[in-house]
């Protein structure tokens, strides 16, 4: 099928899709006229029931915690998939991880880039940690904090060499941290079951101040584990891709 034919078939298909979409659009209640009772009910009762002032995180880790377990394991499986697909195949040779730029004229990283990147590393770790542990008060949570923690390692690579990045995040350690994160989340749910409650029920005692770290039960704990897991997964993915780009070579040349 030639590209022009393909384009015409696509236009015919998308015309049908657009027709159905517009027909469905007319049944919506319009932008801003939210009719459903579920959102209003959750907003009304969430702070009283879970002592968490961040209702989105309460929904994510308490009311709909089971969905979040599923999403986190999608992330886990994707990271494992990247590590599997990018393994060293037959007929490839992994160059030893020593300084490879001896025969190429690579300009060294400028001093300004290096200094700025290293200056940002400490505050980034603090900010990522703070975001991952304060899910119940602010617009933050395990997912965002974890990605920011992962960008710390990327910053280390950008400011220096790949070898420094490898030394700071060895694959075994990152694998172990990711497994701890994923297992911790599942373990919190299972320990609720062991106490006779439904899976992922909030069983830690709720404090008195809404929005403090220790007063929202299992939400802070789950968010911490999710942060660990997301950070480790993203560091693993970037590390694998970096290895592919820099180390693995084809054949014996």
């Amino acid at each position: 099928m030639t590209p022009t034919q393909r384009r015409w078939v696509f236009l015919a298909g998308v015309a049908g899709l657009v027709a159905f979409y517009l027909w469905g659009l007319l049944g919506l209640p319009g932008f801003g006229n939210y009719p459903g009772p579920y959102g209003f009910v959750i907003n009304r009762v969430a702070v009283a029931q879970t002592n968490a002032t961040g209702v989105v995180s309460a929904v994510n880790f308490d009311y709909r915690g089971f969905d979040t377990v599923g999403e986190e394991f999608i992330l886990f499986a994707a990271a494992a998939g990247v590590a599997t697909v990018l393994r060293r195949l037959r007929g490839e040779r992994e160059r030893p991880a020593v300084d490879e730029a001896a025969d190429r004229n690579v300009p060294p990283t400028s001093g300004a880039v290096r200094m700025v990147a290293l200056l940002f590393t400490g505050p980034l770790v603090v900010v990522g940690w703070w975001l991952a542990s304060h899910a119940q008060a602010n617009p933050s949570g395990g997912f965002q904090g974890g990605v920011i923690l992962a960008t710390t390692f990327i910053l280390i690579y950008l400011s220096g060499e790949f070898l420094v990045f490898k030394r700071f995040s060895p694959v075994d350690l990152t694998d172990a941290v990711e497994a701890v994160g994923a297992a911790g989340f599942a373990a919190v749910g299972v320990s609720a079951v062991a106490m006779g409650l439904p899976y992922l029920q909030d069983f830690l005692p709720l404090g008195t101040v809404p929005g403090a770290v220790s007063s929202s039960g299992t939400i802070a704990l789950i968010s911490f584990f999710v942060g660990l897991e997301v950070a480790a997964a993203f560091t693993l993915i970037v590390g694998e891709l970096l290895e592919q780009t820099l180390l693995i070579r084809q054949g014996d040349g």
Binding site: G32, N33, Y34, F40, G54, V56, S57, L131, P139, S140, G141, F143, Q144, V147, I148, A150, T151, I154, F234, I237, V238, L241, L242, Q244, T245, Q250
Partner: protein, 94 residues
């Protein structure tokens, strides 16, 4: 339930509407630009800008959580992963 509420942060509804319409038009233009750019590396940079525009749109929809997620992922993590894959593929083509 839909009456305008007065907190220290609210703006008049008309202003919020104008802001949302502007950002929506910009997002539509950004999506078109991402698809139609020819050069591969430039496409990644345009994707990064599109991610920032999306983050502003989510902020205008009163969703700061999703804004933070989209900023960190769409403007930092995704372009890095895409650029690494492009570098690997380009090296073979030379």
């Amino acid at each position: 339930m839909t009456a305008a509420v007065v907190t220290p942060y609210t703006v008049p509804v008309g202003m919020m509407d104008a802001l949302q319409i502007t950002i929506l038009v910009l997002v539509a233009a950004g999506a078109t630009a991402v698809v139609l750019v020819r050069d591969r590396v430039r496409q990644v940079v345009v994707l990064s800008v599109y991610g920032i525009l999306l983050a502003v749109l989510f902020l205008a929809f009163q969703a700061p959580d999703v804004t933070l997620s989209e900023l960190t992922v769409g403007a930092v993590a995704l372009p890095i992963v895409l650029l690494l894959a492009l570098a690997k593929v380009r090296k073979k083509e030379e």
